[in-house]
């Protein structure tokens, strides 16, 4: 009766160091179709580095990462990426649809032009995030929350099976944050996208994700939505009281 799900991501004994310091230490992680993994952890704990390693942008000291059974650099067309707060010139002269089209690069490739199919995909991606009516607007004219939706559309436009999001709600007001998490939930449940989201917003993450990991050089992860107090204390280096009680889902299992 155990349903066999496709393995999307597998990280085995990954070590990464930067500037002579170990940033990631013996990371092991497996992810399957339909997973929505939240990664929390203190600043400087290596969260963004781990995402970059998954994108094949960083050399590891040892260990291996495979996405869909391929090395990360060759799996790019199946992965969508939403970077940590995109810094861009608010008056940059580019239309929303053209921003979304940029996400087709991994499929279209160097020197080729975008075609009708690419344009149709970009409109469908905008529909999926509820921004289809903004296609012709300039990106700088949108609110922060709307821009973030457009960047999600950009990550969706290559029709990826896995989305990687790095602190996607930084700089968005809380009402728009809730909408944004609902959107991710929709992409995960209804469209079947596996999602890895890095965040330090524990409260929000615990409501929407179905697996959670805590990263501070080492990864504390049990393939479930639960972490022990001990794990969190180890990761943050001190007792943490920031788990909101009374949310529909708990991050922490009650200990006696």
């Amino acid at each position: 009766m155990a349903e066999i799900k496709e393995r999307i991501l597998s990280i085995r004994d990954l070590w990464v160091s930067q500037g002579g310091h170990v940033v990631l230490e013996s990371i092991n992680l497996e992810l399957f179709a339909g997973d929505f993994l939240g990664i929390i952890g203190p600043n400087g704990g290596g969260k963004s580095t781990l995402l970059k390693a998954m994108l094949g942008l960083i050399k590891s000291d040892r260990g291996e990462i495979s996405l869909f059974g391929l090395p990360p650099a060759r799996a790019r067309s199946r992965v969508g990426y939403v970077p940590q707060k995109t810094v861009f010139d608010r008056s940059f002269p580019v239309k929303v649809q053209d921003v979304v089209l940029m996400g087709r690069y991994s499929r279209v490739g160097l020197l080729h032009r975008y075609g009708t199919e690419d344009r149709n995909c970009s409109l469908r991606a905008l529909e999926a995030v509820g921004m289809a009516d903004r296609a012709e607007r300039e990106i700088g004219a949108l609110s922060g929350g709307e821009q973030q939706r457009v960047f999600v559309a950009r990550s969706l436009v290559s029709d990826p099976d896995l989305l990687l999001l790095d602190e996607p709600t930084a700089g968005i007001d809380s009402a728009q944050q809730t909408d944004f998490y609902e959107l991710l939930s929709h992409l995960n449940c209804d469209l079947g996208k596996a999602i890895v989201m890095v965040s330090h917003d524990l409260t929000a993450i615990s409501t929407y994700v179905n697996k959670i990991a805590c990263l501070n050089q080492r990864l504390y992860y049990h393939g479930s939505k639960e972490l022990s107090n001990e794990d969190i204390e180890k990761a943050y280096g001190c007792p943490v009281e920031m788990i909101a009680h009374g949310t529909p889902h708990r991050v922490l299992r009650e200990h006696d």
Binding site: Y105, S106, V108
Partner: protein, 266 residues
């Protein structure tokens, strides 16, 4: 009618051709310079090109060709220094810029008849553009147009969001070096027209005005080319009629347009 008979002189026709090619380059490369925030780098490349010009002079070869060589080397040098070594980019630019100028002045002084030409390279002398220069300028313009046409999608991605571009597999550092090399080519052409000191104004003013009124990159580029061409033509006419230096006349025309557009848009 006085305005039209200037075209009967060959040096005036050359000047006009070089100026119009410069306008096309400014219109296109200038926009990328603004959007990628590499104004200071571009200025540094212009100054560093002087080192190559001086060397060409000293050795008795074509100064412009040597200028292109040293501009491109500087562009690559700045690009690599800031990404590899632990030197910040603006420090690297400052060093390259001053070294190039010092070398240029030194080598020009050691060559004969430097004074007139020194002035020409610093402040531009479009009326001294030869047919050979025009051919070189036109071929550089053609190469850059072809590159931008081929790499339009990649350059847009690089300019808008380099972090994301790298994550989805765009060869960001090579592309950035290529952009700097294209800036280097353009800058050398502009040196002929308005001189090293004023290159940066002609590279940025048309784009800065154009993007205030137009939407979308292709229209902004087109508007910028038209503005650049107008500045060059009006500047040349003023220079011809009043017998004042052409570079200064072109830049002042552009500056007046810039301040007017700032006032109007308020």
């Amino acid at each position: 009618m006085i305005e039209l008979n200037f075209l009967s002189y060959e040096f005036m026709r050359n000047a006009l051709l070089a100026g119009l090619a410069a306008a096309v380059l400014c219109g296109i490369i200038g926009i990328y310079v603004i959007l990628n925030r590499i104004v200071f780098i571009s200025d540094g490349i212009a100054h560093a090109a002087f080192g190559g010009i001086g060397l060409g002079y000293f050795l008795g070869y074509d100064p412009l060709a040597f200028g292109i060589g040293s501009a491109v080397l500087t562009a690559i040098g700045i690009g690599l220094t800031s990404s590899r070594a632990k030197v910040s980019e603006d420090t690297a630019i400052g060093v390259f810029m001053a070294t190039g100028m010092a070398l240029g002045i030194m080598l020009l002084t050691l060559s004969r008849g430097y004074a007139r030409d020194l002035f020409g390279y610093l402040f531009g002398n479009i009326l001294a553009v030869s047919m050979n220069d025009v051919l070189l300028i036109l071929s550089l313009t053609a190469i850059i147009l072809a590159l931008v046409f081929l790499l339009y999608k990649e350059l847009l991605l690089l300019s808008f969001d380099p972090v994301y571009a790298q994550a989805i597999g765009l060869p960001v550092s090579s592309l950035r070096l290529l952009l700097l090399a294209m800036v280097a080519f353009s800058v050398v052409v502009l040196i002929k027209v308005v001189g090293i000191i004023m290159v940066i104004a002609l590279l940025t003013i048309p784009g800065a005005i154009s993007r205030r009124y137009l939407k979308g990159l292709p229209s902004i580029m087109a508007g910028s080319i038209i503005l650049g061409a107008l500045f060059v033509i009006i500047g040349l006419l003023i220079s011809y009629d009043l017998d004042v230096p052409s570079g200064a006349a072109i830049i002042l025309t552009a500056a007046v347009a810039f301040f007017l557009s700032t006032l109007i848009s308020r």
